[in-house]
Amino acid sequence: MRKILVVENDRVSRDLASAVLTKGGYDVVCARDGEEALEVAPELEADLVLMDVGLPGIDGIEVVETLHHDRRTADTPVVVWSALTMAQDVERAWNAGCAAYLAKPVSARELLQSIDAVFGVTRERATG
């Protein structure tokens, strides 16, 4: 079972990601801010990180850059989802080396399909 680290400070969005990805058959671990993410990520051996940008304290993009500099997490793909949708926000995310960028609001289907696409998975139903 693939493991996904969800970094999201907004409770509702976090619950949504958790619910959608769990339904999609992934093992979900949640972090509420950047510090917590950096704490758990190196030992977690996650297969993918779903990263929010507007986090309190350390910014989501900075967290991504830090993870990329860590040997243990350098190859872990990152999908960014954010309510910051202006051109410079999107560019910053791509520059940080994300695998996909999702602009909130995101439908459940779009979120799941985007994550599946990173793994090269296609499916008819979320439960499998």
């Binding site: 907004d10 509702v12 969005s13 309510a83 609001p105």
Partner: protein, 613 residues
């Protein structure tokens, strides 16, 4: 050729032109009068001179006639002359009369003496005007008056007989025998040229004797043209050989008979020579006077217009923006008064200019400040819009995401419990969105001045507990210790309960938001000098000193909340709402240790305006 027009001339020239015209006209007129006067005087003097010369000439002739008559009488009365004449004895006559002929007292009185018989035959003749005297051999004398005398006739004039020949003046006296019978006559004559020489004594005077037919018989001083003058004193101006002359003509009578025409003349040069010199001098003097008058006029005009020129220069300089320039005030005349007025005006202008410059500087500075504020407000608004987009998208993410899970067959069927869970998330997100929108609307209302506040006596303690009940769960979820302390003597506050609750809700949820897990939040309600104060203290990150005031501005957030959710409107709304209730709100904070937000509301017992002030 362009002629300068009078109205374009400088003022001094304008003043000078009529003066020059007057002076020149007056000078010319005066000169003309003076010259004319002198000329008239000279002319009348010339007329008198001419008359005198004319009369002198006639008197000379009459005088000569008288002298000749004396010689005649001397000769005819000589003893033996009648007898010798009767005998025709020329030799005896010579012996008798030669001494008389030569015996003249005057050296210039040289006469010719003749004795003629009744027929006019000359029996004896001696010319003494030549040296030596010469015996004449002539046939006869034919002059009518002389023959009258030779025949012993007597007429109205008695025994005086005279006549004029072309060359001589003749006077004759009869010689009679004892019976009174005429035997002949003694005739004495004098050359006209000699007489004429005595006529003109003055220089520049010409005396000419003409025959009645116009032949010039003799001339003294120079020739004159002939004028047939039938009456005395015909004065004419004639030109002779290029010289203008004043002349006077009149008849010359001998023995009451018109015998010749006498002409006297004066050269105009002699008449007017002095006058012309005087005229030149006069004209020169008048000219000098005119020049002097013009010079004085020019200097005067210059003196008048010079200060005007200075004034014009000052005016031009002022017009070119040289506001410090002043006109010389000089004399206390109209121009001086003008200069004083001008300087007063320039002073006023300079003062106003300075004031204006100062005002412009002040306003520019004010505008710069306002502009900086606007730029800041504008960038704050842009940041607000970006942030609002983020804030609205976050609850929408929950709504759309969960709704999609419910509806999309991809996520299969849900148990009733799952469905409720998904729906409650959608509702929570919807409420979050509604809160944001309400804040925005409140802000818009406040900015438009359309919010309504209805203060009533309100028990603050109850409101505080209400807020604690709602938010207590949130605090407990973050493991935050929250305590409320309401003093027992707190009076009723004059407040709009709904708005005060909104503010307290905002302050407490901020405190929960910014306080780390395990932190502490304290709400104190205290009675403070007829007012009620509500303090919300937290152990959050605190605020930098410069942020303490700024966070109450719309769309502004503290550094700790920069990336956090919230529109940046809460504290701004809180301040507006509290102030509208006559209260105040402020914050005291120590970075790293926490913040205390305090709301002061007037108690219901006193007028809120007094406290608000």
């Amino acid at each position: 050729m362009t002629r300068p027009r009078y109205r374009n001339l400088p003022i001094y020239a304008k003043i000078l032109v009529p003066f020059a015209v007057l002076i020149i006209a007056w000078g010319g007129f005066g000169t003309a009068i003076l010259v004319h006067g002198a000329t008239s005087e000279a002319r009348s003097r010339a007329t008198a001179q001419l008359a005198s010369a004319f009369d002198g000439a006639r008197a000379t002739l009459a005088n000569e006639e008288q002298n000749l008559l004396q010689v005649v009488q001397l000769g005819s009365n000589t003893q033996g002359v009648a007898a010798a004449l009767a005998r025709g004895d020329g030799t005896l006559l010579r012996q008798l009369l030669e001494p008389i002929a030569l015996n003249s007292e005057r050296s210039d009185f040289r006469v010719t003496v003749r004795v003629i018989d009744r027929a006019g035959t000359v029996l004896f003749g001696l010319d003494t005007s030549v040296v030596p005297p010469k015996i004449l051999h002539e046939p006869a004398l034919t002059l009518a008056p002389i023959l009258l005398a030779a025949r012993g006739k007597t007429d109205a004039l008695g025994d005086k007989f005279a006549a004029l020949s072309p060359t001589d003046l003749f006077v004759a006296g009869p010689v009679r025998d004892a019976k009174g019978h005429g035997l002949g006559a003694v005739v004495v004559s004098e050359n006209l040229a000699a007489i004429a020489a005595r006529m003109g004594q003055a220089p520049d005077v010409r005396v000419v004797i003409f025959s009645l037919e116009g032949t010039q018989l003799t001339a003294n001083g120079g020739p004159l043209p002939f004028r047939n003058a039938t009456t005395n004193g015909v004065q004419v101006r004639v030109r002779v050989l290029g010289r203008t002359m004043e002349t006077l003509y009149g008849p010359l009578d001998v023995r009451g008979e018109r015998a010749a025409i006498l002409g006297v003349g004066l050269t105009s040069q002699a008449v007017l020579g002095g006058i012309q010199g005087k005229s030149v001098l006069l004209t020169l003097l008048v000219g000098i006077a005119v020049l002097v008058a013009l010079g004085i006029g020019l200097l005067t005009a210059r003196a008048i217009t010079k200060p005007v020129g200075a004034l014009v220069g000052a005016t031009r300089a002022l017009a070119h923006g040289e506001l410090h320039v002043r006109a010389p005030e000089g004399a206390k005349d109209e121009i001086g008064a003008l200069a004083v007025s001008f300087n007063a005006m320039a002073n006023e202008l300079e003062t106003q200019h300075r004031t204006l410059e100062k005002q412009v500087e002040e306003r520019t500075a004010a505008l710069r400040t306002a502009n900086a504020q606007l730029v800041r407000a504008s960038s704050a608004k842009t940041a607000f819009i970006a942030m609002m987009s983020h804030e609205l998208r976050t609850p929408l993410n929950g709504i759309i995401g969960f709704a999609d899970m419910l509806s999309d067959p991809m996520f299969g069927d849900h148990t009733p419990e799952e469905t409720r869970d998904l729906a409650s998330n959608i509702i929570a997100s919807g409420r979050h969105l509604l809160g944001l929108i309400n804040d925005l609307l409140d802000m818009a209302k406040i900015e438009a001045g359309k919010i309504e506040i209805r203060p009533v006596p309100t028990e603050v303690g109850g409101l505080v507990l209400e807020v604690e009940n709602v938010l207590g769960a949130l605090a407990r979820a973050k493991n935050i210790e929250m305590t409320t302390d309401v003093d027992s003597d707190v009076p009723l506050a004059m407040a709009d309960p709904a708005r005060l609750r909104q503010v307290l809700f905002n302050l407490v949820s901020n405190a929960i938001k910014f306080t780390q897990e395990g932190g502490r939040i304290t709400v104190d309600v205290v009675n403070l000098e007829q007012s009620v104060t509500i303090s919300v203290s937290d152990t959050g990150p605190g605020l930098l000193p410069e942020e303490a005031e700024r966070i109450f501005q719309p769309y502004e957030r503290g550094s700790a909340g920069a990336d956090d959710e919230g529109a940046g409107l809460g504290l701004s709304l809180a301040r507006s709402l509290i102030e509208m209730q006559g209260g105040r709100i402020w914050v005291k904070s120590t970075p790293g240790k926490g913040s205390t937000f305090t709301v002061l509301i007037p108690s219901a017992t006193i007028e809120r305006l007094e406290v608000a002030g």
